[in-house]
């Protein structure tokens, strides 16, 4: 189990001198606010360390292992003389190497219950065949690419192993300069000192989501950010946007932003303008890519931008800490950075020609899983706007929920839902009673542990399907069940969905003959919305919980009806018992 307070234990096993990388990774984690320890495996001993159950690595109980085996170490003199073998022998070699690496990664993942970052191989730039390399039946480049393709397939089929695109890193840095030949000859350094920080940044994109809440919302300025010029001065006809030299940087920037939206990033506008001027561009400009329907919130006014961000976060019911702000104006950026230090402020460069590069280099939205719910999140938030209109019209909570026609489906975890469960435990802060963070690997293990009951709760209403929004994990201990995890996405709090999920657990516990259900509540800075939940559900606080954890009990005798305002599909009952 991961607690956010414990340092992240990283093991780096490499086929070359990796001490500079280990040292830099330690610093990079520290600078990113992620307490971490880095264990560096013995030089070139990666296979022994993984295969020997009593090695220092096997005993270090790491959370993440980076397995960095480079082409040169793997290929030996095949790197210099790839055509001393014939095509068939090269093909066999590639198959064997891929199998060996995959087997090592799997063994490590099993032994340490760790997430494995598996380097792929740098595809050599050079071939003795020159241009005929690509005419070769099975050339050395194709051989390395084949290994990479096999590694990628293996990662796709195994939630514990993530591919680290080292070849992509080398290409980005430049394969001519990624190594410093002198330090390579002197000390077997395979990455030049100058490029070690960039390698660590690339690792961090995988490590950050394990410890730091993922960013959810991109708040954008308009003038000089989404288009060139000030629309209030030059009008819709005068702004620069579209397929012209001065308009294309903005046009393409918007297309990249839309791509983020399509994979679930929530968008909002924060602009000092007259609303009509901006809305006219959104509705009528032929090359405007981002339209009204893409924005979940729009603050177009003359307020200061920090207050606007606060209002946007409140309206969307997300934390200010999950907001990213992009604005061309350094003064606005400084104002927001000062007033709201939790907001990640991206420094757009002075020259719009570099906007796209800046956006593409930003990795704060990276997650380790992307579920169907994520991809639709932009739409979910738009539907939320419509729900708010119903809420205004309804006179009380019960009639509001009835008007929404809320229906929930509760059932046991399945292979399909495990990624989403992990994600909810990692990302849910407000209505999360214990804030226990579980990686996909850990969820997988719990789901297959007969002692635990793991339930998901999906919700839909007349405005749309919200997907899986709630998770409950109960330990079926005797005589009392223990509620290890109970959370509901903040998007749907207050619609009795949490009541329905808890009732389901109570029913299951009663059916299984449990005496009581013990609910745990671990207070955090963010989960105050959940602090009175157990009391409201008829639980009684137990003595001796201490300041860090409260325990609440409720007897399993009696009936536990679902809230009558909503419909519950309990399709999972039989399979719950079957797990």
């Amino acid at each position: 189990m991961m607690s956010e307070r414990r340092p992240l234990r990283i093991a780096l096993l490499a086929s070359f001198t990796a001490k500079p990388i280990a040292d830099a990774l330690d610093r990079a984690c520290h600078n990113a606010g992620i307490p971490a320890t880095v264990y560096l495996g013995a030089y070139q001993q990666y296979a022994q360390e993984i295969l020997n159950p009593t090695s220092a690595f096997s005993r270090c109980a790491c959370d993440v292992m980076i397995l960095a085996v480079d082409t040169h170490a793997l290929a030996g003199d095949l790197v210099f003389r790839p055509y001393r073998l014939d095509d068939d022998a090269r093909r066999r070699w590639a198959d064997e190497q891929a199998e060996t690496l995959i087997a090592l990664a799997r063994t490590a993942a099993e032994r340490c219950e760790a997430m494995v970052l598996l380097h792929n191989l740098e595809v050599p730039m050079y071939s003795p065949l020159g241009p005929l390399e690509h005419a070769q039946e099975f050339g050395i480049k194709e051989a390395v690419e084949t290994i990479n393709a096999k590694l990628r397939s293996a990662c796709k089929g195994d939630p514990r192993i993530y591919l680290f695109d080292f070849d992509g890193f080398c290409a980005r840095v430049g394969k001519r300069v990624v190594r410093d030949p002198k330090l390579y000859y002197l000390g077997d350094f395979k990455v030049a000192m100058a490029h070690v920080p960039e390698l660590c940044s690339a690792y961090l994109a995988y490590l950050r989501p394990l410890r730091v809440p993922v960013k959810k919302c991109l708040v954008l300025d308009c003038d000089h950010t989404l288009w060139g010029g000030v629309v209030g001065e030059v009008g819709i006809e005068g702004i620069q946007l579209g397929p012209t030299p001065e308009g294309r940087p903005y046009w393409e920037f918007q297309q990249h932003v839309l791509a983020l939206h399509e994979r679930g990033v929530v968008l909002a506008i924060n602009s000092r303008n007259n609303p009509d001027d901006v809305l006219r561009v959104l509705r009528e400009h032929p090359y405007q890519v981002l339209r009204e329907e893409h924005f979940a919130a729009m603050a177009i006014n003359w307020e200061d931008k920090a207050s606007n961000i606060r209002a946007i976060a409140e309206e969307l019911n997300i934390g200010v800490g999950s907001v990213v702000f992009m604005d061309d104006d350094p003064l606005n950026r400084a104002l927001v950075a000062h007033a709201l230090p939790e907001v990640e402020v991206v420094n757009l460069p002075g020259d719009p020609a570099w906007y796209v590069n800046t956006l593409l280099a930003f990795d704060g939205f990276h997650t380790l899983q992307l579920t169907d719910e994520d991809r639709q999140k932009g739409r979910f938030y738009a539907q939320e706007q419509q729900r708010r209109h119903v809420a205004v019209a309804a006179t009380d909570l019960a009639s509001y929920i009835r008007q929404l026609d809320v229906a929930v489906t509760i059932g046991p975890a399945s292979a399909m839902t495990i990624p989403r469960i992990a994600q909810l435990t990692l990302k849910t802060n407000q209505f999360n009673l214990t804030t226990r963070r579980y990686t996909e690997t850990e969820v997988h293990r719990l789901a297959h542990d007969a002692r635990f009951l793991m339930l998901t709760c999906a919700a839909r209403d007349r405005f749309g399907d919200s997907g899986i929004v709630g998770v409950a994990i109960a330990e079926r201990s005797v005589p009392d069940w223990r509620m290890d995890t109970f959370l509901v996405s903040c998007r749907v709090i207050g619609r009795k969905i949490e009541d329905a999920l808890l009732a389901y657990v109570m029913q299951e516990a009663a059916r299984a003959g449990a005496r009581r259900v013990i609910g745990e509540f671990i207070p955090t800075a963010k989960n105050t919305p959940a602090q009175d939940f157990y009391r409201a559900q008829g639980f009684v606080k137990m003595e001796g919980g201490g300041a860090n954890i409260e325990r609440w009990e409720r007897s399993c005798t009696g009936a536990f009806p679902f809230p009558e305002e909503l419909t519950v599909d309990g399709g999972g009952m039989q399979s719950v018992r079957a797990i």
Binding site: T17, K19, P20, K182, L183, Y185, L186, G187, F189, M193, A194
Partner: protein, 76 residues
């Protein structure tokens, strides 16, 4: 203060005042082969030079570093 001494002190974790041209891997325990390479990298970065492989291998003590930097036109 010899500017090379400052870099040597920082990488090897010793006070620059304790460093002389005679300071060498024999007199400083932290000057192992790995830190030797870190030192090469730090000196190249600090002074904007690139040593040859032979120059690095030939270094026996801090005096050799100073001499190599002087050859590259650096006033230390």
């Amino acid at each position: 203060m010899n500017r090379a001494y400052t870099v040597v002190g920082r990488i090897l974790g010793i006070a620059p005042e304790e460093i002389t041209d005679a300071t060498s891997p024999k007199t400083v325990a932290s000057w192992d082969s790995y830190n030797g390479l870190m030192l090469v990298s730090a000196l190249e970065q600090e002074f904007g030079v690139s040593f040859t492989l032979d120059e690095v291998i030939a270094v026996q003590n801090v005096g050799d570093i100073t001499a190599a930097l002087t050859r590259h036109g650096i006033e230390v």
